[in-house]
């Protein structure tokens, strides 16, 4: 998939690009609004990551421009301005998602994937994990024909780890994904540990779950061999 990263902070744009390339995306960079405007006019992109705080351009105008030019790119707004109405305005103009800086790269990836699934109508396939099967569509975890009774938070946590399988996720990344950043100040690494502990207890009640790993001093990971 083709992604244009519109970001005036060059080193941030490069980090995002390096991460997305490792996830097999094709990345293009634009450091100014004019540059972005030209690139959008010439190339076809599936995604445009758009920083609203461009020095030479109002990012929101760029969305308008692209939509008028018939671009079918999906916009994900990334901004550090943090103004409440920016989010509303952006989504009103037809942006597909909104991420406040600083965000976790894995969070950005999961947002892109979610928009892609909606856009291309990709049915998420069930995921096999040892004796367990995660039915992403119906939000169920099945073990040998029986459903594992998980709370909403436990399921969200597990799904996030599963969708980012083979990557270590820090407690903070997990916390941000589930609780968002309105409770940023109340972040407590213990929360994630408690939920993982409960989750493991429930899983092991059905079958062993060695694929859910604790990475000492870093976080958690789901390994799929």
């Amino acid at each position: 998939m083709n992604i244009l990263i519109v970001e005036d902070e060059i080193s941030l744009a490069k980090e995002i690009a390096s991460f997305l390339k490792s996830e097999n995306f094709l990345c293009d960079l634009a450091f100014t609004g004019r540059d972005a405007s030209e690139k959008i006019a010439v190339n076809l992109y599936d995604f445009i990551l758009l920083d609203l705080g461009l020095p030479d351009y109002n990012g929101l105008d760029l969305i308008n421009e692209a939509k008028k030019a018939g671009s079918y790119a999906s916009f994900i707004i990334i901004t550090a301005r943090g103004a409440v109405e920016d989010k509303v305005k952006g989504l009103d103009l037809g942006a597909d998602d909104y991420l406040a800086k600083p965000f976790a790269l894995v969070e950005l990836l999961s947002r892109i994937n979610a928009v892609a699934r909606r856009k291309f109508n990709i049915a998420t396939q069930d995921i096999r994990l040892g004796d367990f099967v995660m039915e992403v569509q119906s939000r169920k975890l099945i073990c040998k024909g029986a459903e594992v009774d998980l709370t909403k938070k436990e399921y969200d946590l597990l799904q996030y780890l599963v969708l980012n399988h083979n990557k270590v996720l820090t407690r903070q990344q997990l916390y941000e994904h589930i609780w968002g950043n309105i409770l940023d100040d109340q972040y407590d690494s213990n929360f994630i540990d408690v939920h993982i502990k409960n989750l493991r207890k429930k899983l092991n009640h059905h079958a062993p779950s060695p694929w859910l790993e604790t990475v000492r001093g870093v976080g958690y990971r789901v390994s799929t061999g």
Binding site: E9, S11, L12, E15, I16, S18, F19, S22, G53, A80, R81, G82, A83, V84, E85, A100, K101, P102, F103, A104, L105, V106, T151, K153, K167, V168, T170, Q172, N181, I182, L183, D184, D185, Q186, Y187, D188, S189, N190, F191, V194, H195, K197, N198, V215, R216, G217, V218, G219
Partner: protein, 440 residues
């Protein structure tokens, strides 16, 4: 509290009643005096007429020396009489007085004129009387008519006064309702209220100018927070992405991974500190909307569900005692969620094994009340004094937070006009009380 309209109407009514009462008290005596004067003039005229008659035809037709000493004449209805008699009194009389006469067993009050005159060296006393009964009757009738008339006037003017004050005070009503409706200065309706009363025009204009000023300063503050946010978050964002990319590399050794994670954690603390301060600034410059209505009880239930796994893990009892629910109007749900969450999360954190945290909802003195009580460590007075301060950051040894949570709680409470109070005792526990604005 009485409305201005009612006050004016009440004043009008009272002033009319006083005026009427004075009228009713003084009017009868004025009328009586006027009437008496008229009667007196009448009597004097009659006296002159009689004297004229006597001069013309002599005294004989009235009194002749042999047969009668007195002459008297009543008209049929005894309303008037005249009498003339010889008298021997020394003094000259010329006076008018009220006296009762019994005539044919009937007592009648007369106004009587006494006058002495001398004819042919003989002194005579002339008495002319006029009954006051008709005057007294007339007075009663006049009083009655006046009373009815005044009551009628009072009622009519009361209705028209009420109507009129309602109409002239209507612009004021519009201005106050404009003020009541808004949740923030930017929402103030700037179209001028239609009125030709100059006071209302200047009130409306002054309010509008004030609102514009407040709105402008909020806008400025908003710009500042947006700029600070951008300037601080961008470098944090760069650092974070770089560190996360390093952590994702497969060839990284565990020791480095651990260090990177610790750096990320520190960076996160910086991020959430900045975010918290910006959050407070945004709340205080009214950048959040207050347009939601929700059940406080179900919101508290959600928070309890969220914190229960942690409480259970610590073996802390977290329970609710919901006596009363409340639909909180014109509020921001996610902010109120944060407000309670911060306090409840602290309560669970600060309570040891087998301790208790109880959330109670109730109504006290007509106001909704939520209390969060824990049996935790409690606080001493010094700790209590900077509890809500955002500048004295209390770092717990087991907490990843910035300790600014209670300052956030306070500013959210202020934003919603919720009063927060705290009582605490060391080693006994702490109680937070949230008193909601008066239920209108």
């Amino acid at each position: 509290m009485i409305r201005l309209k009612s006050k004016l109407a009440l004043f009008n009514l009272l002033s009319k009643l006083v005026f009427t009462a004075l009228f009713l008290i003084f009017l009868p005596s004025i009328i009586e005096r006027v009437n008496l004067r008229q009667v007196d003039n009448d009597l004097i005229q009659k006296r002159e007429k009689t004297i004229g008659l006597i001069e013309k035809i002599g005294i004989e037709p009235f009194i002749n020396s042999d047969s009668t000493n007195t002459f008297g004449s009543y008209n049929i209805l005894k309303e008037e009489y005249i009498s003339l008699e010889r008298t021997n009194i020394e003094e000259e009389l010329n006076q008018i007085e009220v006296s009762n006469r019994i005539i044919e067993d009937e007592e009648i009050t007369y106004r009587v004129l006494n006058y002495t005159l001398v004819v042919d060296d003989q002194k005579y006393l002339l008495e002319i009387g006029k009954s006051l009964a008709s005057i007294q009757n007339a007075r009663k009738n006049i009083n009655r008519i006046i009373l009815v008339f005044l009551i009628f006037i009072i009622l009519v003017t009361l209705v028209t006064d009420l109507q009129y004050t309602r109409i002239i005070l209507n612009p004021l009503k519009k201005i106050t309702s404009k003020l009541k409706e808004i949740s923030s200065p930017s929402k103030f309706d700037r179209t001028p209220v239609k009125t030709n009363t100059s006071d209302f025009v200047s009130l409306d204009n002054a309010l509008r100018d004030l609102m514009i000023q407040i709105d402008e300063s909020f806008q400025k503050e908003k710009e500042i927070t947006v700029n600070i946010s951008h300037e601080l978050m961008t470098p944090i964002s760069v650092l974070r992405s770089k560190l996360e990319n390093i952590l994702l590399r497969s060839d990284i050794d565990p020791e480095t991974a651990n260090k990177i994670e610790e750096s990320l954690k520190t960076l996160h603390r910086l991020q959430s500190l900045v975010n918290s301060l910006l959050l407070i600034a945004r709340i205080e410059s009214h950048q959040y909307l207050r347009e939601e209505t929700f059940s406080v009880q179900s919101l508290l239930g959600e928070i309890i569900d969220e914190l229960n796994p942690v409480a259970e893990d610590k073996e802390v009892i977290l329970k609710s005692d919901f006596i009363q629910d409340y639909q909180f109007e014109k509020a921001n749900r996610s902010l109120v969620f944060s407000m309670f969450y911060n306090v409840l999360n602290n309560a669970v954190k600060n309570t040891d094994q087998n301790g208790k945290v109880i959330v109670i909802t109730n109504i006290k003195h007509g106001r909704y009340l939520v209390t969060i009580t824990d049996t935790g460590k409690g606080m001493n007075e010094a700790q209590m004094s900077y509890l809500f301060s955002r500048f004295k950051i209390r770092k717990g040894n087991d907490s990843d937070g910035t300790g600014i949570g209670l300052a956030i709680t306070k500013s959210i409470a202020d934003f919603h006009s919720i009063e927060v109070s705290v009582t605490s005792e060391v080693e006994k526990g702490t109680t937070f009380s949230f008193i909601f604005p008066e239920i209108s």
